[in-house]
Amino acid sequence: MGFFLETVFGGLMAGMLYALVALGFVLIFKASGVFNFSQGAMVLFAALAMARFAEWFPRWLGFESLLLANVLAMAAAAACLVVVAWLVERLALRGLVNQPAITLLMATLGISYFLDGAGQLLFGSATYKIDVGLPKDPLFVLEDTFPGGLLLNKEDLYAAVIAAALVALLSLFFQKTRTGRALRAVADDHQAAQSIGIPLSRIWVIVWSVGGLVALVAGIIWGSKLGVQYSISLVALKAFPVVILGGLTSVPGAIVGGLIIGVGEKLSEIYLGPRVGGGIENWFAYVLALGFLLVRPQGLFGDKIIDRV
């Protein structure tokens, strides 16, 4: 029982991280109708920028403090992502208004190639470390209930808390601020939003920037866990089943979907994996999502699809 719970907790925390990446997809899809394949490349770009700036700033400015270096690097990386968002809107999205979804999807694939190349060209393509002071020691809880207690990874716990805080912050931003309302209006209906004077292009820059910042947070957390290298962009592939499971248009869906996938993946790997030869986590999430979709084609929380002729 203890082991089972440990697995579930591990899954929940991994799921929180998937949800974080998935959130970037959902935000951008809601506001601009673009299924953003480049989210993974954005995570890589952000993590690379963060890692290298944290390395470069102390050298350039001649100080030692790790905290200052991290704060400066985070600001610089965020600035980079805002520039990327602006360029994407200016150079790519603006020219592709009213194109079918598949064309937009391909365009983001092009963007993702570009960002992969640009990030590694600017910041180098070796493996880098991000050290933002997340504790790495294990934590034992509930030692009275179970013999030996439950082993939790403190780093995962912090990451899950950060992710949850970010989600709460984003919901506040969407519900309470003027910009957030404008974003929701655009998500609802592009033309109607435009007709009441909401500038579409600025909204897109904002939402891609927010997507970029979410990617930065995801990049920092994944980067400090696994190190920053090319394979970090593959995290996005883990987030696809999460978004379609939760529904492309739903923020809570991304969270719940992430948790379901996280737990499902861990449990399947432990209990089902050994029987079929292991390594099934790569596709299990997809098959799980597929199973859900067969029952609810629009995902758990997605907008209902209504067919009209």
Binding site: L109, G110, Y113, Q120, I280, W283, Y286, V287, Q298, V309
Partner: protein
């Protein structure tokens, strides 16, 4: 002036149904076939065959198959690489396990295995649509990647997971030179191209297109969604499977599962979008673009005399590739095939204004 159809009357049903109704087109296509079948094998170098012509032909075959599914039936698939893998591994197993199996039969067997897989993974398309379906087809990609990696039977228990094909024989003749291999690919591409063209302009092609344009309306006028969608998956996967088998047998010779990874799926989707969705010529244009562009980009720094490290050059190549894709999508979202047909319209009058 040279491309006018004035005076060419269609006097019979046969003439009306011809593949190339305009005489100039027939001449051009015959000339092209003559060049491809006779002149190229005589003139091209071994390097051109290996690096350009064979990959181009095999990938355009795969793109042709994918175009049936995405361009004509409107079902987005990101699992093409997996169906290529199924074709390749099935053909390999037929070749290895059955003594004296003819090459053509194992290629077709690979195609049939891919068809079965395609229909199974096409079943969700009856419920799921659009982007949801696109992501769902990734399930096929990852599952088959895993399957070919983890099930030793598939690779004939090879310890490294990679498989290699011995000498190829066609009707008792060994296929040794690149030119012979090229001719095999070319013949298969021509046969599949003509068959596909006839399928898409027949009743079943019209069903696919109706499904693509609006599936509910199509169902209302009596087109069976199950039949239309699954037949598109079947035909598409068959062609993709044959292309996969060719890719493994003729182009690579020896391969490991990574050869049919998700990158291949994206690459093929790029081809048909840049080439033109829902057009036979588009598959060829797109394949040419995607095969030639990296070769070209490889040489550009060299020509300009820029001293670039290999890593930097490959990153730069990625960037230019991505930027060009976005550029092409903005300039001509309907693909190179549309540019081609616009050019033909212009040619009918050129050089006169009316």
């Amino acid at each position: 002036m040279f491309y006018r159809e004035n005076g060419q009357f269609k006097a019979s049903y046969r003439a009306d149904l011809a593949l190339f109704p305009i005489a100039q087109d027939r001449v051009a296509i015959l000339a092209l076939a003559l060049v491809a079948f006779v002149a190229v094998p005589l003139l091209a170098s071994d390097y051109t065959f290996r690096a350009v012509l064979i990959p181009f032909l095999v990938l355009s075959l795969a793109a042709l198959g994918l175009n049936v599914l995405v361009g004509y039936c409107g079902q987005i698939s990101l699992g093409t690489g997996a169906f290529m893998a199924v074709g390749a591994y099935a053909a390999y197993n037929l070749q290895v396990r059955i003594e004296g199996m003819p090459l053509l039969l194992s290629l077709i067997g690979g195609g049939l295995a891919a068809t079965v897989c395609g229909v199974i993974f096409g079943l969700p398309s009856l419920r799921i649509r659009g982007l949801y379906l696109a992501v769902a087809t990734l399930a096929a990609q990852f599952f088959i990647d895993w399957f070919t990696n983890r099930v030793p039977w598939v690779t004939n228990n090879s310890s490294s997971g990679s498989v290699s094909v011995g000498t190829l024989q066609l009707f008792g003749l060994p296929l040794e030179t690149p030119a012979q291999r090229y001719l095999l690919c070319l013949s298969l591409v021509v046969v599949c191209g003509i068959l596909t063209k006839n399928l898409v302009r027949g009743a079943i092609g019209r069903e696919w297109m109706a499904m693509r344009d609006m599936d509910v309306a199509a169902a209302v006028i009596g087109i069976r969604p199950v039949h239309a969608k699954l037949s598109a998956f079947a035909v598409s996967s068959f062609i993709v499977g044959v292309a996969g088998a060719l890719w493994g047998f003729v182009h690579l010779g020896a391969w490991e599962p990574a050869a049919f990874g998700i990158d291949k799926s994206f690459q093929l989707l790029f081809m048909i979008i840049i080439g033109g969705l829902g057009s036979i010529a588009g598959a060829f244009f797109g394949a040419a673009f995607i095969v030639l562009l990296p070769l070209l980009l490889n040489h550009v720094p060299h020509w300009l005399g820029l001293p670039l490290s290999t890593a930097a050059a490959s990153h730069l190549e990625h960037m230019i590739f991505g930027a060009l894709i976005v550029f092409f999508l903005i300039v001509e979202p309907h693909g190179l095939a549309r540019l081609w047909s616009t050019a033909r319209q212009k040619l009918r009058l050129w050089p006169f204004p009316h």
